[in-house]
Amino acid sequence: MASAPENEKNASAPEKKTLTLKSMINNEEFVVDEHVALQSVTIKNMVDSDCAGDVIPVPTISGEILALVIEYCKNHANPSASEDDLKKADAGIVAKDIYTLIDLVLAANFLDIKGLLEVTSQKIADSIKDLPHQDVREIFGVENDYTPEEEAAVRAEHDWAFEGFP
């Protein structure tokens, strides 16, 4: 089923094909060139298997975040961009507060865009690196589920442990 429309596409697409991505959170729509959107493996799989309609709904991702994702994809779809340019552009995209970064990393994971997932994870790691673990808990919405005994046991690992040879 995938091969027949493939030929058709090649024949009838000297002009740029576009896709519309729609955020299901605030119904914002983005029209993007197909080759830009196809950097998302998730979208590519949909298009390849002919499941994409005219408008591709994107659940759980807000328009604000989707705009960042599309900016990333546009930069990386440009064949004339140098590695340094891309690095600078990526740094600009992830120069956001931690909560935006968390939404962005979720979006990158959902849309399966490896490069964006990597730069965003790295940026989050850099941002939380120097924070006390209590703050990290708050940011990630994680509950402290250590029992006092467990926490004591983990802290005890900070004493030297000696092992002999077998």
Partner: protein
Amino acid sequence: MAASTSASSSSPAAPSSTAAADSSLHLIKQMNAGKARNGNIKCRKFQSTACSNRKKKSCVPSLPEEIVFFILVRLPADILHNSAQYVCWQWYSMIHNPCFIYEHLRRSTTSGFFIQHGTLPYTPCFAELGKTNATVTEVSFPFPIEVLATCDGLVLFRDRQNRDGLPLFRDRKNMTIRVANPLIKKVVTVPPLTVQGYHYYSFSLAWARSTREYKVVFTYGSNLGLEDFDCMVVTLGKDHAWKLINNSTKFPNSFRKLFRYCPLSEGGFLYWAYFDFPFVVTLDVESEMFYEFPSPAVLCGGGYTSVHCLIRGKSLSCMVQFLGSPGIMFWDVWDLCDPMSGEWKKLYRIEWDFNQRRSRQVFKGLLSQPAVKTAFAPIAWVNNGEVVLFCVSCSRGPYIAYNVKTGETFTFGSHAYDVWSYFWRDYAYSLVWLTPSSLITRGRGGS
């Protein structure tokens, strides 16, 4: 659908907008298919068992596990150990998972270098390099040590008290050799050596790639005439005793001089490469096979003033120094492409023009002595092979850090006059240990 910014997407709410239902479901399916293909995620099974005893709410944070993995694997080992593991149980078990530790090691780059002074107070230190400065901190050990080698955050050492007691050859058999990870504070004793009467020797630590075991290699000259040498090896956490590597006899005598020097260790290979010896010898620690090939000192056809071999990133690198017209010094940096065939590639030329005002500022007091320019000795490559550290070997002075990509140069710290009694090696903390992580287990059944 949840609009909250940190809403969970691990189980996206069933699509409520009816028109989009089909496509949304498809997207979710695609997402899951994408996950299954991703080879990096190996910890899921481990995780789910770790969480199974817990109440659902406390073990399902807002981020899916694979994203937590992606983020944590990018944190430095000391942050993971000293802070991140206290966040929650899920993070603790992920950080202690062998797959995670391996992936973390694979990504990590040597962020600084390990120093041990050869004179009192002998304190082992770690100098971590930033962009324009360095932070030097003491490295924790349970007793005084003398560092012999490092590998993947592990440190091979002998107890200092042994050496300070009786430094006679015959007493060396009493020395206690140990391996420690100073971050996670674990130390293991290496089985005692049974060899006696050796003349020169070196210890090194390396990793056998496929089994992921660490081996200590002991090279020694068996008599005073330097004619014979032997190599012994012990696999940590597994072997009870040292065993001889038998194929070392195939080398001609000229190589034997090389074995008097301590090898460098990286990526499962040991490298004997010293100054302008025309050959480099490597040992594949896993197969215990030796390889030999020419060093760049031969390839560049002479004219150099000195040659230094160091580990750069994940391979052996050789720096050949030349003096140009007065005040100009340059280094050619060669990288070894393949540790078995010995193919070298010239990557950079570092050029220092001491006539320039800018470099005079950086090197300040260092340039007063005429001999100094030839005494610049590279001692380690750090920060993913981007920064090379130098010391000036004939005078007391600071370390010099030079970034080969940006040309940025700065000085920090100081070393004493006698630089040859120092131990310097590129280093980064890791979570690596020899035996599988002894995880604290949650004893209570499904409360």
